[in-house]
């Protein structure tokens, strides 16, 4: 159920350069790949942030400081409350498959965590391919391992794992079903390379709930789809990526 909630910050810690993990005490429940709209004090529009983990009594968000809003978020200490609206959007489906590959680049990684957790609950084999710029920016590789996922890493500078993007790792594997989130070029490459799976998109949003038409993309027939409501997760091949 979509709701608005004053969630209390339990922890808000830096886990890599410019990357923060915030745990929020709240009653909101969510599906993997859904997101919340965060009302950051001192800004006007809400900020869409993916739900990284649903614990039952809290939500975990992982965010990168890229501008004004996320910079303010990073300053908020435990005990402060933060108004969140959600859960929003259509997330990653948990399909009845034997094995799934989850591909994530940078801050595309967070929504894959809850997805992996749900797949692991069903005993599905999960291989997670994570892409970073360099060694010191790696986060959550161990967390995925603890879930029992096979973790493969790509770094642009080759300092850890395969040199290059997530695609370099994927090329070396069999990929029956993929669910991915990350920068647009990565999603484009995945949409071209694989027929089966899902990708999660980003867009500038106002309402976050499907009412304003601010976040639309086009499907193959030229019809408008709302990233916030019809997505952010779409089946591979559905959306024209520009």
């Amino acid at each position: 159920m979509i709701m608005i909630e004053d969630a209390v910050i339990l922890t808000n810690v830096r886990i890599a350069p410019d990357i923060y993990r915030m745990e929020l005490k709240c009653t909101m429940k969510a599906e993997p790949g859904q997101f919340v709209q965060v009302q950051v004090p001192g800004t006007y529009l809400r900020r869409p942030i993916s739900i990284c983990e649903v614990t039952g009594s809290s939500l975990v968000l992982i965010y990168k400081v890229v501008g004004k809003g996320t910079a303010i978020m990073a300053e908020l200490g435990p005990g402060r409350s933060l108004n969140i609206f959600g859960p929003l959007g259509t997330g990653f489906p948990i399909e009845a498959v034997d094995a799934v590959v989850l591909g994530g680049g940078g801050v595309g990684i967070p929504p894959l965590y809850e997805t992996a957790k749900r797949y692991r609950t069903k005993q599905t084999n999960v291989t997670v391919v994570l892409g970073f710029n360099q060694a010191d920016q790696i986060f959550y590789a161990d967390a995925f391992e603890k879930l029992g996922c096979t973790v493969k890493i790509a770094t642009m500078d080759g300092s850890v794992g395969t040199k290059g993007t997530v695609m370099e790792v994927l090329k070396t594997m069999s990929v029956p079903m993929i669910e991915a989130c990350g920068p647009l070029p990565m999603l484009k490459a995945i949409q071209e390379a694989y027929p089966a799976g899902y990708i999660s998109l980003e867009a500038r949003m106002a309402c976050g709930m499907g009412a304003c038409m601010g976040c639309v993309v086009k499907d193959q027939n030229g019809q408008a789809l709302r990233v916030c409501k019809d997505g952010p997760v779409f089946p591979i091949g559905k959306v024209v990526l520009e």
Binding site: I2, I4, Q39, T43, Y44, L45, R46, F85, A203, R204, M205, A206, C207, G208, M209, G210, A211, C212, M213, G214, C215, V216, V217, K218, G222, A224, K229
Partner: protein, 304 residues
């Protein structure tokens, strides 16, 4: 306290109306609360044919406000009539159909299509969309063009016609008078101010459409000023809109001369804002010593 407001064609149980383009056709908000609590709903602009609208990005944040360049995306009036209006009929609230187009005839076409819909109680002519041109000039910024499209709409319409004015003009009272003389039943003001943001990373305008419409609290002082000017210049009911976030803002618009209000971008910030305002309004009116909505309307320029 009774909050009801009687306007041409509209029996509003309270003066709170979500603004066009900020509420879709209500479907998403109906998941959050019962739309029957609303005075009315101004639905998203309808054009004769389907429009995809502008490329993205369509949204940018600004200090205490936002820019949008949606570009009148909609499925066309026939689709709306067949798929959205019947669904809206379940709610006990007044539906205002916002009418837009790329040319004058478009307004007439949309109105003719909707004339026999019982659920539509009034039209709101959006002559203020900066994307719609007529001989290179927006309809809403030239008194003659504004009056002409109003007249065509009035001739075609079987329901009252409200005209929604653009604030991007030198003298809003001149446009308001022209539209009033052409037969408008009411005025809605204001639409968005034309603005721009530049993305410093590219050095180019952030919106794909380059310019966009500024809305939110930032524009409230301009909206209040225009409502105040027009309320004294023209003898028509005014629906005020621009930057409303709470019941005190509503009272400010009433004092300025509006009889009802529309709430736009704040629906994105707080999706429950309309029911919240409706709940707070009696207390706020009381706090400032009003026994009715009427007493507050136009207070700023009435001698007592």
């Amino acid at each position: 306290m009774k909050l009801n407001v009687e306007l041409p064609g509209l029996h509003l149980k309270n003066p709170i109306i979500p603004a066009s383009g900020c509420f879709g056709y209500g479907r998403e908000f109906a998941e959050l609360y019962d739309l029957s609590c609303l005075g009315g709903i101004a639905i998203k602009s309808a054009t004769p044919e389907e429009r995809f609208g502008n490329p993205t990005p369509r949204i940018a944040e600004t200090p205490s406000g936002m820019l949008n360049a949606i570009g009148l995306q909609n499925h066309g009036v026939t689709y709306i009539k067949e798929h959205e209006l019947p669904w809206l009929a379940q709610f006990d609230t007044e539906i205002i159909a916002n009418v837009a187009g790329a040319a004058e005839e478009d307004y007439v076409k949309v109105i003719e299509t909707l004339n026999d819909s019982e659920i539509v109680k009034a039209y709101e002519l959006n002559i203020s969309c900066p994307n719609v041109k007529h001989g290179g000039i927006g309809l809403g910024v030239d008194p003659k063009l504004a009056a002409h499209v109003t007249k065509l709409a009035k001739d075609a319409a079987k329901k009252p016609v409200y005209v929604k004015l653009s604030p991007n003009v030198t003298d809003i009272t001149e446009i308001a008078k022209a539209v009033a003389d052409a037969g408008a039943d009411g005025l809605v003001l204001i639409n968005t101010l034309m603005g721009m943001r530049i993305d410093l990373r590219t050095g180019k305008p952030l919106l794909a459409n380059k310019t966009g419409g500024l809305s939110g609290p930032a524009i409230k002082p301009v909206a209040i000023r225009m409502v105040w000017q027009v309320a004294q210049a023209v003898d028509l009911p005014i629906i005020g809109v621009g930057g409303i976030t709470d019941a005190e803002d509503v009272l400010e618009f009433l004092n300025a001369g509006a009889s009802a209000v529309e709430v736009g971008a704040q629906n994105f910030i707080d999706p429950y804002v309309c029911p919240k305002i409706i709940e707070q309004l009696p207390g706020v009116l009381e706090k400032y010593g009003y026994a009715s909505i009427d007493e507050a309307v136009g207070r700023s320029f009435r001698d007592e």
